[in-house]
C-alpha cells in the first residue's frame, strides 16, 4: 500500500472547489481573528464611547427622523466602517470582499440620499437641516463602528477609494465583455460613452452661477492637495549641493505647511459657499427662512458683479467663471494623480511583481464576482428602471437608451457599478471631512462620532427640537471626553495595563459634568435667551461672515495633534 501525500493528490474539480472553500474560510477566519483582536483591545472607555454614540444615534435618530432614518444611519455607518476596514486589509481576499461591502455602502448611501431628498421636498428649509442631521447621524455611527481601529487616516480613505474604483473598473470590463460581441449594442455603447464623456466634460467645466464659486474652491483645494503630494515625493534636496540642502528642506517644509493650510482654507470656503448656494437653490421664496436668500444669493457669480466694486468684481468673476482656469486645475489634478499612481506602482513593483498583481487583481475580481449575484438581483427587481427614473436631467439620452436595450443582467451589473460609484462618493466625502477638520491621529473615530453627534444637535435645533439638541450635544461632549481619555491612557501606558478604575471614575465624572452642563444650559436658555434681541439684518450678515472667518482661522491655527 502506498501512502499518498497531500501534494500528490489529484487536483480534480472537487479538490479545486475544496481549495477555494478553504481559502475563503481562511480569509474569513483571518478577518474574524483580526476583529476579535481589535474588540479585545478595547478598553472600558472605548466601550462607553461606542455604546453611548450608538445609543444616542438610535434614540435621537428615531425621534428625529423616525425608525427608518435611524436604521439607515446605523446601517450606513456600519457598512461604511466595514468597507473602510476591509478594503484596507493586507489580505487580498478580504480586500476583494471589501468591494462587496462597498456595494451595500453604496445602496445605503443612495437610500440616505433619497431619504434626505424626500425630507427636503416635504419640509423645505428645515428639511435641508433634517437631511444634514441624518447625514450627521451616519457620520456619528461610522465613528462608533470605527472605534476598534481608532484612527481614520486620509491614506486609508484614499486606499479604500482606489480599491473600490478598481472594483468598478472590473464591473465595467465585465459589461463591455458582455456587450462587445453584439454589433448593435457595441455601436450603442460607443454612442453612449461618447455622449456621457461630453456630458461629464461639460458638467466639469460648467461655470453655472449656482455653483461656480463653490466648485472652483473645491478644484483649487484638490489641485493643491495632489500637486503637493507629488512635490513631497520629489527628491529636490538630493539634487542640490550639501551646503544648500538644509535651506531647501526648510523652504519645502514651509511651503508644504502653507499648502496644507491653503487646502483646508479652500475647503472651508467651498463648504460655506456651497451651503449658502444650496440654501439659495432650495429655500422657497415663501418659506419663513426666505430672508436668508438676500445673503446666500451673494455667492452666485451673477450677483457678485453687482456687489463687488467694478475692477475687482470683474476680475474675480472672470477667474471664477473661466473654463480655462478650471481646465488647468483639472489638468494639474489629473497629472498629479497619474504621477502618484506611477510612483506608487513603481514602488509596489520593486517589492514584488506577483504580489502587486495579486493586490490589483483582488478588487478587480471581487467587483466582477460581486456583480454576478447582485446584478442578477438588480435585474430581477428591475432596478435599472428606477435608476433611469431618478437620473439627473442632464443624463444623455444615448446612455438611457443603451441601458434600456441591454440584457437584464448587464443592466443589473450597471446598477451595481453605480452603487459602487456612490460608495466612492461617500468615501470622498469622508476624506473631505477628515481633511477639513483634521481628525486627531489616535482619536479619529471618537472625534468623528463626537462631531457627528454635534451636527445632529445643530440640526435638531433648526428643526425645532431643542430638548433633543441639548441631550445630543451633551452626549457628543461626553463621547469625546471619555474616548479621548482612553486614547491618552493607551498612549501613555503600555497594552494590558490595568486602567479600569481610572476609566470608570473619569467616565462617571464626565457623565456628571455633561449632565450638569446640559441642565445648566437648558436653564440658561429658558431664562436668559428670551432677553436677547437679534441685531439688524446687515449687521447680522457681516457678523455671520466674520464669525465664520474667525472660526475658520481658529481651526487653521490649531495644532494638528
Amino acid at each position: 500500500m502506498s501512502i499518498e501525500f497531500p501534494s500528490q493528490q489529484s487536483s480534480g474539480p472537487q479538490s479545486t472547489v475544496d481549495r477555494v472553500r478553504a481559502t475563503l474560510v481562511s480569509a474569513l477566519s483571518s478577518a474574524i481573528g483580526t476583529l476579535r483582536t481589535r474588540l479585545y483591545s478595547l478598553r472600558f472607555g472605548d466601550w462607553v464611547s461606542i455604546l453611548l454614540t450608538l445609543g444616542v444615534v438610535a434614540i435621537a435618530g428615531t425621534a428625529f427622523a423616525g425608525t427608518t432614518g435611524a436604521l439607515l444611519a446605523v446601517g450606513g455607518g456600519l457598512s461604511l466602517a466595514l468597507t473602510l476596514v476591509m478594503t484596507n486589509s493586507s489580505n487580498p481576499l478580504v480586500s476583494s470582499l471589501g468591494v462587496v461591502t462597498g456595494i451595500a455602502t453604496g445602496a445605503l448611501a443612495a437610500a440616505v440620499a433619497a431619504f434626505v431628498f424626500y425630507v427636503l421636498l416635504q419640509t423645505g428649509f428645515s428639511g435641508l437641516f433634517a437631511g444634514l442631521g441624518i447625514v450627521s447621524l451616519l457620520v456619528a455611527s461610522t465613528g462608533a463602528f470605527l472605534g476598534p481601529i481608532r484612527s481614520i487616516s486620509r491614506l486609508a480613505i484614499a486606499r479604500s477609494t482606489l480599491v473600490v474604483t478598481v472594483g468598478i473598473v472590473g464591473i465595467v470590463g465585465l459589461v463591455l465583455a458582455l456587450v462587445a460581441p453584439r454589433a448593435e449594442l457595441r455601436q450603442q455603447a460607443t454612442d453612449a460613452g461618447v455622449a456621457t464623456g461630453q456630458t461629464v466634460v461639460s458638467t466639469a467645466l460648467s461655470v453655472d452661477p449656482a455653483h461656480a464659486l463653490s466648485t472652483l474652491f473645491v478644484l483649487l483645494a484638490a489641485a493643491l492637495f495632489f500637486a503637493g503630494r507629488v512635490v513631497v515625493r520629489l527628491p529636490v534636496e538630493r539634487l542640490l549641493p550639501a551646503d544648500r540642502r538644509s535651506t531647501a528642506v526648510a523652504a519645502i517644509e514651509w511651503v508644504q505647511q502653507w499648502r496644507i493650510t491653503l487646502v483646508r482654507a479652500s475647503l472651508v470656503v467651498a463648504m460655506v459657499t456651497g451651503i449658502g448656494l444650496l440654501l439659495d437653490a432650495t429655500v422657497p421664496p415663501q418659506d419663513e427662512a426666505a430672508w436668508l436668500l438676500a445673503y446666500t444669493q451673494l455667492f452666485r457669480t451673477d450677483q457678485l458683479l453687482a456687489v463687488v466694486p467694478p475692477p475687482v468684481g470683474e476680475i474675480v468673476v472672470g477667474v471664477v467663471s473661466s473654463q480655462g482656469v478650471r481646465a488647468g486645475l483639472y489638468a494639474v489634478i489629473a497629472g498629479s494623480i497619474a504621477a502618484l499612481i506611477t510612483v506608487r506602482l513603481g514602488g509596489a513593483l520593486r517589492r514584488g511583481l506577483a504580489w502587486t498583481a495579486v493586490k490589483l487583481a483582488a478588487p478587480l475580481v471581487g467587483g466582477i464576482i460581486a456583480a454576478i449575484p447582485f446584478g442578477l438581483l438588480a435585474s430581477r427587481f428591475e432596478a435599472i428602471d428606477l435608476l433611469i427614473e431618478v437620473a439627473p436631467a442632464a443624463t444623455p439620452p444615448e446612455l438611457v437608451e443603451f441601458l434600456q436595450d441591454v440584457p437584464a443582467f448587464v443592466a443589473g451589473a450597471a446598477v451595481v457599478a453605480v452603487l459602487l460609484v456612490l460608495c466612492v462618493t461617500t468615501l470622498l466625502a469622508l476624506g473631505l471631512l477628515s481633511t477639513v477638520i483634521v481628525l486627531p491621529a489616535n482619536t479619529g473615530s471618537t472625534a468623528l462620532a463626537s462631531i457627528g453627534l454635534f451636527g445632529v444637535a445643530v440640526a435638531a435645533v433648526v428643526v425645532d427640537r431643542p430638548l433633543i439638541a441639548v441631550g445630543v450635544a451633551a452626549a457628543a461632549l461626553c463621547v469625546w471626553d471619555v474616548g479621548e481619555f482612553g486614547a491618552t491612557l493607551r498612549t501613555e501606558l503600555p497594552d494590558r495595563s490595568p486602567t479600569l478604575r481610572a476609566e470608570t471614575v473619569h467616565a462617571s465624572g464626565s457623565l456628571l459634568y455633561c449632565s450638569a452642563g446640559a441642565v445648566g444650559a437648558w436653564l440658561l436658555y429658558r431664562l436668559a435667551v428670551p432677553q436677547v434681541q437679534p441685531p439688524a439684518a446687515e449687521i447680522a450678515a457681516v457678523g455671520l461672515l466674520g464669525s465664520l472667518g474667525v472660526a475658520a482661522l481658529l481651526a487653521l491655527l490649531l495644532p494638528r495633534a
Partner: protein, 439 residues
C-alpha cells in the same frame, strides 16, 4: 501643573454657535452653544490633582534564583483629603528584567485616604538590579490639568539574583567511602534494605530477633548501604551552545550555571567528592574540603561563555545541518581536547553534564563519556519553554522538536536527562529524575 488642551473644538464650536445664534436670532443655536460652553466651563473649574500621595514597593523575594518569578507589589496611598481621580504609574525597569505576568504600568484612581496595590511578576538573570524612578502622571477629574512626577518609592529599590542550594540525586556509581548517597547494596546504614541468612561474625544488633522467635532460624538485617560518590559536573560554557530566552529573561548560560551550582553544593553537603569542568578548559579536581569548595565557588562565580572550547572541531561539524549530512563522528570528538577531559575524569566517577542541549555536539560528548564507563546524567534547562510569549514562532517550534529529539536520543542510550521546564522549579524536575532512577 500643565493645562491640557482637550476642549478647543468644543470651545470654538460653542463660541461660533453663540455668535451665529445671537446675530441671526436663531435662539435654538444658543442652547447647543451653551451646552458646550457650560461643560467646558465646568471642566475648567475642576480642581488640580493632589500631590499628597506615597508609593511603596515590595518584592516577594529580594534574593531570587535566576529564572524564579518575583512578584513586585506597588502600594499607592492617597494621603490627601481629596480624591486622586487619575494616577498613571510606570515602572522604569532595567532592560534585562522581563515582565512575565501583569504589567509594569497601571492607571488608577484612589479615594481620599485610601490605598491601592498593583502587582506584576518579573524574572531576572544573575546579577544585581536597581529599580529606576517611577513615572507618575496625575490628572484632575476633568483631565484639564496634568503633571508628571518622577518618584523614588519607599521599600525595595534593588535586589540581587543569585544561585542557591538544593539537592541533586546522583546515580548508582559510588566510591568506597561512606557518604550520604543511597545505593542498591545492603550494608551499614539507616534504611531497611533486606534480610539474609546469618553468617558468623555478624553484629548482634543486626540479628532479626523477631524472625528467630517465629521460626527459630537466625537471620541478619541489612540496611541500605550509603556511600559517597565522585561526581564531576561538566558545564557547557560554549557561546555557540547557548541561546537567549524566548520572550526575555535569563539566558540559557545563566540557567545552566544556576542548575550546576545547586547540584554542586548539594553534592558537597552529601559528602560526595565533587569536581567541576567546563568545556572552556577550567578544571577543579573532585574533593570535599574547604579548598575544593573555594575553588568550585570561584569557577561558578567567574564562569562566562567562551568562544573557543574543547569541542571546537565538534562544533564545526556537529551543527544540525552537519548532523544530517552524517558528519560529527566519534573520530572528530576523539581528535580534539574533549578526549583530554575524558581522560581526566576519575575512574568510577559520575558525570553530570549541564547544558541546554541546543546543538548535537554536547550529545555526542555525553555519549563519549558514557562509553568510557562513566554514569552520565544531563541537567538541561528547556529554553524553548517560552515564558512571557503567547505562542512560539515557527523557528522556535522547530528548535523545540530538535531538542526533544536530542533528549530522546540520550535517554535511548541509558543517559538520564533532567529536562527542566522553566515554568516549574528545578527541584520538581530533579525529583522526577530521581523517581525514574528508582524504577
Amino acid at each position: 501643573m500643565n493645562p491640557l488642551s482637550r476642549w478647543q473644538g468644543a470651545l470654538i464650536g460653542g463660541l461660533l454657535l453663540t455668535v451665529l445664534g445671537v446675530l441671526i436670532g436663531a435662539d435654538g443655536l444658543l442652547v447647543v452653544a451653551l451646552v458646550a460652553l457650560v461643560v467646558v466651563g465646568l471642566a475648567k473649574l475642576s480642581p488640580p490633582p493632589s500631590a499628597a500621595y506615597s508609593i511603596e514597593r515590595t518584592l516577594s523575594n529580594s534574593r531570587p534564583n535566576p529564572g524564579e518569578p518575583v512578584t513586585v507589589t506597588l502600594r499607592i496611598t492617597n494621603e490627601s483629603r481629596r480624591m486622586l481621580p487619575d494616577l498613571r504609574l510606570t515602572e522604569d525597569l532595567p532592560e534585562s528584567l522581563t515582565v512575565i505576568s501583569g504589567s509594569r504600568s497601571v492607571g488608577t484612581a484612589i479615594p481620599p485616604g485610601g490605598e491601592t496595590t498593583h502587582s506584576y511578576e518579573i524574572i531576572a538573570p544573575r546579577g544585581e538590579f536597581a529599580f529606576g524612578d517611577l513615572t507618575v502622571r496625575r490628572r484632575n477629574l476633568a483631565s484639564t490639568l496634568g503633571v508628571a512626577d518622577f518618584v523614588t518609592p519607599k521599600g525595595t529599590t534593588q535586589f540581587t539574583c543569585e544561585t542557591l542550594i538544593d539537592s541533586l540525586p546522583l546515580r548508582q556509581q559510588t566510591i568506597q567511602f561512606v557518604g550520604e548517597t543511597p545505593t542498591n547494596q545492603g550494608g551499614a546504614g539507616v534504611e531497611f534494605f533486606s534480610t539474609r541468612e546469618y553468617r558468623p561474625g555478624d553484629p548482634l544488633n543486626r540479628i532479626d530477633w523477631n524472625q528467630y522467635a517465629r521460626s527459630g532460624t537466625l537471620s541478619t538485617v541489612e540496611y541500605r548501604l550509603e556511600r559517597a560518590v565522585t561526581v564531576v559536573f561538566i558545564i557547557d560554557d560554549r557561546t555557540a551552545g547557548h541561546v537567549d530566552a524566548i520572550g526575555g529573561g535569563p539566558n540559557s548560560f545563566d540557567l545552566t550555571l544556576y542548575a550546576a551550582a545547586r547540584g554542586i553544593v548539594t553534592s558537597l553537603e552529601d559528602g560526595n567528592e565533587t569536581g567541576v569542568a567546563t568545556l572552556g578548559g577550567q578544571w577543579v579536581d573532585p574533593g570535599v574540603g574547604e579548598h575544593t569548595r573555594s575553588r568550585l565557588e570561584t569557577v561558578i562565580d567567574t564562569a562566562e561563555p567562551v568562544d573557543e572550547s574543547l569541542l571546537d572541531s565538534v562544533d564545526d561539524s556537529d551543527s544540525d545541518d552537519a548532523a544530517e549530512s552524517g558528519k560529527g563522528t566519534d573520530q572528530t570528538v576523539a581528535a580534539d581536547g574533549g578526549m583530554e577531559l575524558l581522560h581526566r575524569l576519575p575512574e568510577n566517577g559520575q558525570v553530570v553534564i549541564c547544558s541546554p542541549l541546543v546543538d548535537d555536539a554536547i550529545v555526542e560528548y555525553a555519549e563519549q563519556c558514557s562509553s568510557y564507563g562513566h554514569a552520565v546524567s544531563v541537567l538541561s534547562p528547556d529554553m524553548t519553554t517560552g515564558r512571557g510569549v503567547e505562542a512560539l514562532s515557527m523557528g522556535n517550534r522547530v528548535g523545540r522538536l530538535r531538542r526533544r529529539q536530542r533528549i530522546t536520543a540520550l535517554r535511548g542510550r541509558n543517559t538520564a536527562v533532567a529536562d527542566w521546564n522553566l515554568r516549574e522549579p528545578l527541584l520538581v524536575e530533579l525529583q522526577r529524575l530521581q523517581r525514574r532512577w528508582a524504577t
